[in-house]
Symmetry: C2
Subunit: 357 residues, 2 copies
């Protein structure tokens, strides 16, 4: 899969311009209102009059870092401005030892079960950031198998339980054309488990071994099964519902996010809720991050990432120690997001999550 994951390169700004840009961005973070030249003159160490600052602001606007919502208003950062801030101006907050311990505690008490952990992480991300946390579950294809078990539910109905080496389980129940008794099923699963123990393979590998071995015999149990049990997991169905374990998006509570002043506008709030409840675009961007293997910052503007226009999404991939499980996490907030607070949270959480799955 090919993806563009590079970081853009910004032309340098003079020290003075950088300081004024920083002032504008931090001022905007604080007040949620356009920042004027007078405010900068009074609230930064620069000993300059508002008139001088106006001159520099005009050139910062020319260069695309800030803009005016209307003629006689102050300035607001553009997407380009935020990016410059994140890459060069921002001083990331440190997560205190106490906070780290709190996170560990809240995740430790979770059932040691992937779905439970991921759901919990999404809630935790919401809580810590006061925005909305999202978690994309890892794709199970490629994960080593530990155990497979067939259980007869009732006549011609079988449940397959697939246990991966990392403790994740997947259940698939399906119908077969002729009934098979439980002890025969147990024989079949024993045989599969023998292969798994010897060859240390993933689902796809197992499929190959089985289809080679059982090539001729059409009536064979495994050949009936293979179409069912090895069917691709983790994709959306014909109705666009994401029903499978994999590729599943966990979304934390979004209550706090709604209190941000940008969502006092009715259209904004609807766009936010629809974007989150639609899941499609969020999953797309989180998938992108998973493939990039590094933290990504999506700032939704008219020109770029317009699918989340007006929203920011900070994401990072996570991976289990053996690199078998890959997913990503993220935080959705307004453009005017507290990046210096949120980014360390994402960094810490992606690493921590990698360590416990």
């Amino acid at each position: 899969m090919e993806e563009k994951c590079e970081k853009p390169n910004y032309n340098n700004l003079s020290e003075r311009s950088r300081e004024i840009l920083l002032g504008i961005i931090e001022g905007y973070f604080g007040t949620a209102n356009p920042v004027g030249s007078k405010f900068i003159a009074e609230n930064t160490g620069l000993n300059l009059s508002s008139a001088s600052i106006r001159n520099i602001m005009a050139s910062l606007e020319e260069a695309g870092y800030i803009y005016q919502p209307h003629f006689s208003a102050g300035r607001i950062p553009t997407a380009k401005g935020y990016k410059f801030y994140i890459d060069g101006l921002m001083i990331a907050e440190k997560i205190s030892q106490k906070e780290k311990e709190n996170i560990e505690k809240r995740l430790a008490s979770a059932n040691r079960n992937l779905s439970g952990i991921l759901s919990r992480v999404s809630i935790l991300l919401s809580d810590l950031s006061h925005y909305a946390g999202v978690v994309l579950a890892p794709d199970m294809s490629g994960a080593f198998l530990l155990h497979i078990e067939f259980i007869r539910i009732k006549e011609k109905n079988i449940l397959a339980i697939i246990v991966f080496a990392n403790g994740v389980t997947e259940n698939k129940s399906f119908y077969i054309p002729k009934d098979i008794k439980q002890n025969e099923l147990t024989r079949y699963s024993n045989k599969l488990n023998g292969i798994i123990e010897n060859k240390n393979c993933d689902l796809d590998g197992l499929k190959k071994i089985i289809t080679e071995e059982m090539y001729s015999d059409k009536e064979n149990f495994y050949s009936i099964l293979s179409s069912e049990i090895f069917s691709p997991v983790g994709n959306t169905d014909d109705y666009g519902d994401c029903i499978n374990y994999d590729n599943r998006l966990y979304v934390g509570p979004e209550g706090d996010l709604l209190e941000e002043p940008e969502f006092s506008n009715n259209e904004q709030i609807k766009f936010l809720i629809k974007t989150i409840s639609d899941k499609k675009n969020i999953i797309k961007l989180l998938g992108h991050t998973k493939n990039c293997k590094t933290k990504q910052i999506f700032i939704g503007s008219e020109e770029e990432w317009s699918e989340i226009s007006g929203l920011s999404l900070i994401t990072a991939p996570y991976a289990s120690e053996n690199n078998m499980l890959n997913g990503s996490i993220g935080i959705i907030g307004p453009l005017r997001m507290n990046y210096s607070h949120v980014i360390p949270i994402i960094d810490f959480m992606s690493e921590f999550l990698g360590g416990i799955i």
Copy 2:
């Protein structure tokens, strides 16, 4: 558990009053604006002047079926008015054969896996109603067991897979103080499965049998286990997160609901989203319905069900044929909900869902 599930009894209204009330409610459904006497005079079969209708409206208001948002406005139904409409005035729509087939098709293509079905049902309820569908997963305590399997994940870490007779599975992974090899674990699960086959019991029943049998031996595997495997399922944890399979709420997409005119007000929309994402109150009301065993209608007003004030929640219980799995489904919408459309959907779906789980 004791719950009040009775239906209130309304004093009778004259034929004319009923017809005017019906006109007001249907008019309000159509326009989302307070309905005046002139509108009723012109849009119903009644050959009455607006002045006469005003007299009757005054008495309907006196009796609490309608109210005026302000002095010179038309009338809006109260919660009491809606209830009277639902119980006595409404003519429920029929679900066409075609729609039924569509529902069946969309649920048939789902993986035959409880979680998948329930998630799908919540989406389907949203789609069909254009409001927000919710589904409360059944409580598994009381469901007969089919199979238990212990799998050694790694040193001192065990995964227990519990399969219920209805095909639902539950996974619990936990730590044990001393390591046990897989073949020994298999012996243990075989023993349990023997008991399950003979006694046909639920988790609680199994626990009793085991603890009686293994009374003396403290070092015993089962006694180590019992605290873990039989720990209560389906409740929220110390942080209020609902992480377990049971008692889990599935919420369908709420995009359509946001388009209703009642949610053009910013506070309304926030209340809706917070109520849904909070889950607690929705779960409470769905749980109430499950215990009542009949369809329930919650109309959120200042006086009653104020936790969903301004919202309506139509719910119905569902149960598997053998009555082992009990849960409930619901649709959340504005007070001005299209009850005659939504109620048959809820009725059909609760019955249909009971049939396929």
